[in-house]
């Protein structure tokens, strides 16, 4: 299971990386915005994408749209972990095809639940 973590703050990437390791996912890579993440996704056979929304360069929502528009990537499960908490934004992400949405600040438990739920659905 290869996971890409996209967030412009290295601290947040590190927290998510640690939480994922606790859940048994040790094969993770990092990118600091959509522009650096996209080429990695295109060439790197990732199984799961965790992304922030608000980032310089390319935002998470734009990255999600690019992923869904790409023939080879469109089935990639995407979890959004973000401080963006407007209802309109959550609806927008859902319509763009996000698989899960976690608002910051979040607990380890919330992240775990969402990830397990996504894999449950993907594997069924």
């Amino acid at each position: 299971m290869k996971i890409l973590i996209v967030d412009d703050f290295s601290t947040m990437r590190r927290i998510i990386k640690n939480l994922l390791r606790d859940l048994g996912f040790t094969n993770t890579s990092e990118a600091d915005d959509g522009l650096t993440a996209l080429p990695m996704l295109e060439s790197g056979s990732f199984d799961f994408l965790v992304t922030d929304w608000n980032m310089p360069g390319m935002t998470g929502i734009d990255l999600l749209r690019k992923v869904r528009a790409d023939e080879r990537l469109k089935h990639l499960p995407v979890l959004m972990v973000t401080a963006e908490a407007k209802r309109d934004q959550i609806i927008e992400a859902a319509q763009a095809g996000v698989n899960g949405y976690v608002v910051k600040p979040f607990t380890a438990q919330a992240l775990k639940e969402k990830i397990e739920k996504i894999f449950e659905r993907v594997n069924s």
């Binding site: 290295s10 640690n18 401080a83 407007k86 609806i91 927008e92 859902a94 979040f106 607990t107």
Partner: protein, 262 residues
């Protein structure tokens, strides 16, 4: 501000008075008087306008002084308080980032120690159980005794190390005091800048009234349109519980998504 009201009031009463006189002289066919009245009106308007522009200039000057920028200095922009505030905020970002990384380093160093002790205790516990049930021979007992001794030494050493890490984690929180002070100062500056800008805007609106300038309200409102900025994101919500259009936590997000059929 009272002065502005009186100068505006003067201009308006002159305008009213001269307007009736102007109509009267036109009706009576005294065009010379009419032209004279128009000239006087123009003068009154110009006087007001000059006064307002004068005030605006003075206000601008004092605002610049308040921002402590010396316009004669070539590096004026670099020494402004705003630049200083930006540097202060970068300092906050740097300090909090360092503290977060330091804390995570220490947690990452402590976790394997705790996991190691826990695994050792579990293994020893199983052996100890067999010993209590008298299932352990003399040779095996000697090995068990050595293991217990090793475990005790390791526990003492590792828990001392973890305690040191915990103490360092505590110390890593000292940024709060420093960042708190910096943020308070920047907040104060922002409040001052806002009130100075507000004064300038009020002054400028007086000039607008004298000069008869009107602005395109619609384009100003369009500029503020929140829809325009939705894609870029807003960042963390400070008053989530007071806003209808914002979720107040993960439960809210889950409810919203399940209502959308997720």
């Amino acid at each position: 501000m009272e002065n502005d009201e009186t100068s505006m009031g003067e201009f308006e009463s002159t305008l009213k008075k001269h307007a009736t006189e102007l109509v009267a002289s036109l009706e009576k066919g005294r065009f010379g008087d009419a032209v004279q009245l128009i000239h006087e009106l123009n003068q009154a308007r110009d006087r007001g306008l000059y006064q307002e522009i004068g005030k605006l200039t003075r206000e601008l000057h004092s605002a610049i002084v308040n921002f402590q920028i010396d316009p004669n200095m070539p590096q004026a922009e670099e020494v402004s308080q705003i630049t200083d505030a930006t540097e202060r905020l970068s300092y906050v970002v740097r300090l909090t980032e360092n503290a977060a990384n330091r804390t995570m380093d220490l947690v990452e160093q402590s976790t394997p120690l705790m996991n190691g002790l826990s695994a050792d205790a579990k293994a020893l516990s199983a052996d100890w159980g067999r010993f209590m049930r008298r299932e352990v021979g003399a040779d095996e007992f000697r090995e068990l005794a050595r293991n217990v001794e090793g475990f005790l030494t390791r526990t003492e050493k590792d828990s001392h190390e973890v305690a040191t890490h915990l103490n360092d984690i505590l110390l890593a929180q000292d940024f709060q005091d420093l960042t708190g002070q910096v943020i308070k100062r920047v907040t104060q500056l922002v409040t001052e800048v806002e009130s100075n800008l507000l004064k300038l805007v009020l002054m400028a609106s007086h000039v607008d009234r004298f000069a008869g300038i009107s602005h395109d309200e619609e384009s100003i409102r369009a500029e503020k349109d929140p829809e325009k900025h939705i894609k870029q994101g807003e960042g963390p919500q400070i008053n989530a519980d007071k806003r209808e259009d914002v979720v107040s936590g993960q439960d809210d997000v889950d409810d919203l998504l399940s209502s959308l059929g997720f």
